[in-house]
Amino acid sequence: MKIHEIINVLKGELICGEDFLNEEIDYGYSCDLMSDVLAYVQNNVLLLTGLIHPQVIRTAEMLDIRAIVIVRGKKPSDELIEMARIREIVLVRTKHSLFTASGVLFENGLLGEEITHDDIQV
């Protein structure tokens, strides 16, 4: 999905990154735990999270994540927004919960990032 389509279906508010709305994102990963994001994300994902600590931006930077959706209507600090802007990361806010935002995107064709680690047996 293109980032502008993601914003549209989530009825989201664009916070920064207006120059990158035509970029395509293939997968979504929803998580409030940055340790898990660092451990499991392999692809070009959209990160959905309710966490608004600046380390969310650093985590995204390390993984080359291009866009982040902040759920539950949380408001990031000016500092976090500036960090995202400098790194050319798109930030979007939505009122939806993490579950609903993920469901809406899945329904519209965004795939879920699969957990591929061999050491996880289910």
Binding site: S35, L38, A39, P54, Q55, T59
Partner: protein
């Protein structure tokens, strides 16, 4: 080529600055994106550990034609049981660390998975050394 970074302790907002800087260097040198990703994830995990557990420390990143070697040294409390610390899900991190999305006991196992060699040496009360190596060929 050796790049040196000082990491401040307790500065959760600045945690990751060194990893970010080193990532820029690797990009400028034209290292492959796949390797850059592995180095960035590993160094960032280790840098976060240093801030959370050890009140900061020093990092040296060395780049040779054959490998990238990241050495992190701190004078923190040390790790009581390194094998236990390597176990997925084991963590002694503070509430503050958990609030910023860390402290899930994923860090060291994740570094091991992303690197070609991980060596953790620790002396209780003196500090910890973490050496991470990535082969370039």
């Amino acid at each position: 080529m050796i790049f040196k970074y000082d990491v401040e302790g307790g500065e959760f907002i600045n945690a990751g600055v060194a990893s970010s800087e080193f990532k820029k260097v690797l990009k400028q040198l034209g290292i492959s994106p796949e390797i850059i990703r592995k180095v960035s994830i590993s160094m960032y995990e280790a840098e976060i550990n240093m801030v959370i557990h050890a009140n900061g420390g020093h990092i040296e990143g060395e780049i040779t034609p054959e490998s990238i070697h990241v050495l992190l040294k701190d004078e923190g409390p040390g790790i009581k049981d390194v094998d236990l610390a390597m176990t997925i899900g084991y963590s002694t991190a503070s509430k503050t660390a958990r609030e910023m999305g860390f402290g899930a006991g994923m860090g060291l196992p994740n570094i091991k998975r992303n690197s070609d060699n991980l060596k953790v040496s620790s002396i209780l009360g003196e500090g910890t050394e973490v050496e991470i190596t990535f082969q370039l060929n």
